[in-house]
Symmetry: C2
Subunit: 247 residues, 2 copies
Amino acid sequence: VTDIASVKNPRVVAVTRLHRRKHRRAERRTILEGPHVITEALESGIELLELYTLDPADDLANRAAGTDCPVFRVTPVVMQRLAPTEHPRGPIAVISVPAATPPRHHDAIVMVGVADPGNAGTIIRSAAAFDHDVIVWPGIDIWSPKVVRAGAGGHFRTRIIGGAPDPAALHTIGITTAALVVSDGLSIDAVGPGPVALFVGSEPHGLPDEVRAACDRAVTLPMSADHESLNAAVAASIAMWERFRSR
Amino acid sequence: VTDIASVKNPRVVAVTRLHRRKHRRAERRTILEGPHVITEALESGIELLELYTLDPADDLANRAAGTDCPVFRVTPVVMQRLAPTEHPRGPIAVISVPAATPPRHHDAIVMVGVADPGNAGTIIRSAAAFDHDVIVWPGIDIWSPKVVRAGAGGHFRTRIIGGAPDPAALHTIGITTAALVVSDGLSIDAVGPGPVALFVGSEPHGLPDEVRAACDRAVTLPMSADHESLNAAVAASIAMWERFRSR
């Protein structure tokens, strides 16, 4: 365990760079904050590259120290600088962004332009709970600290699929593609048999027309009145719940 | 239409005070931001007390001017001060906080200590979509600008019930009370017949033990594995969806 008491320490400066997307992307690293999500990462076999803690005697620091991960004891002022949140209690871990895997013949949620990090993380959390793979459209930074926080460990309990397979590519491997739309779609029960990839768009714009048109089906969740609407993460989660329950 | 160009204008100072909870509570007023939610308020019969806009020629300003509501044209700097968000486009309206109504014999969601304003607003939005009344436990500031924003107009399309009826009081009027819990509860299908009040707690603590114990039933949403979890607003929304779909 090494002590760090200065915010000018080169390691601290390097971690702080990871608050910015362009550096996360260039270095293919990100930050995890808090014992819960760091523990989830460890349980899923992710290797911690560095751990920064206020208390090197705590369980997580001991566990990290038992691997090859260097553990640093930092002051509260340094923790404040390292963490992307306002009142951090730590610890902070640096990891390599896990490699995305290719698509498979399994239910999936496809995030197309979900811009709000809380919604993106919540969708990943629900995907883990309802056994859906997560397919990420380019431009969604699912490894940002905000998305990881809202994901509550779901990033490490579900399969994250890269390469942005479009509806035609998914159709080719036997997956029915379904656009989640606010009106004029089928009931979610009417989709299938076989695995379904649910395409969900951003608020308030929804899916781009060309994505909707390329999907095999459109699905709408009925509501109490025409002018009602749902949060994007709620709509995606209910659709996944319905698929999960019908298996 | 009166012009306001100074952030020291007494009206501007008075509106800015409403960013703080204690002033909202003392004055029983709150702020609405943006054309969508202000339009929803007007449609539901809410009277605007004041409207601040960058463009007094727009539809909403014209509509407000057609009522007794005073309309003020403000500069971008003043709008920045008035609005609770960072990059406001306006308009901003001041309203009296609508009075809560007594409970009735109808499905409801009961928010017990839901602390995150995004989650609280999302639950209200889903309650409107799935025809549930909203019962608010003391201490939840559902008329804060953040909650209203996440509610996307749901505040004006659902029935907000005050007086914090506890499980025993709801039971007395023939409503089955059901605690939403992460494990060991019944299936949501098994609750009823008749109206159900679903009690949902905060993350990560859930419902207080005494609230859970006072409910007639406990309900759990099955997930893919024991260690999975859902965002509180997602769990509440799925439970309401199930009730709504089963009617």
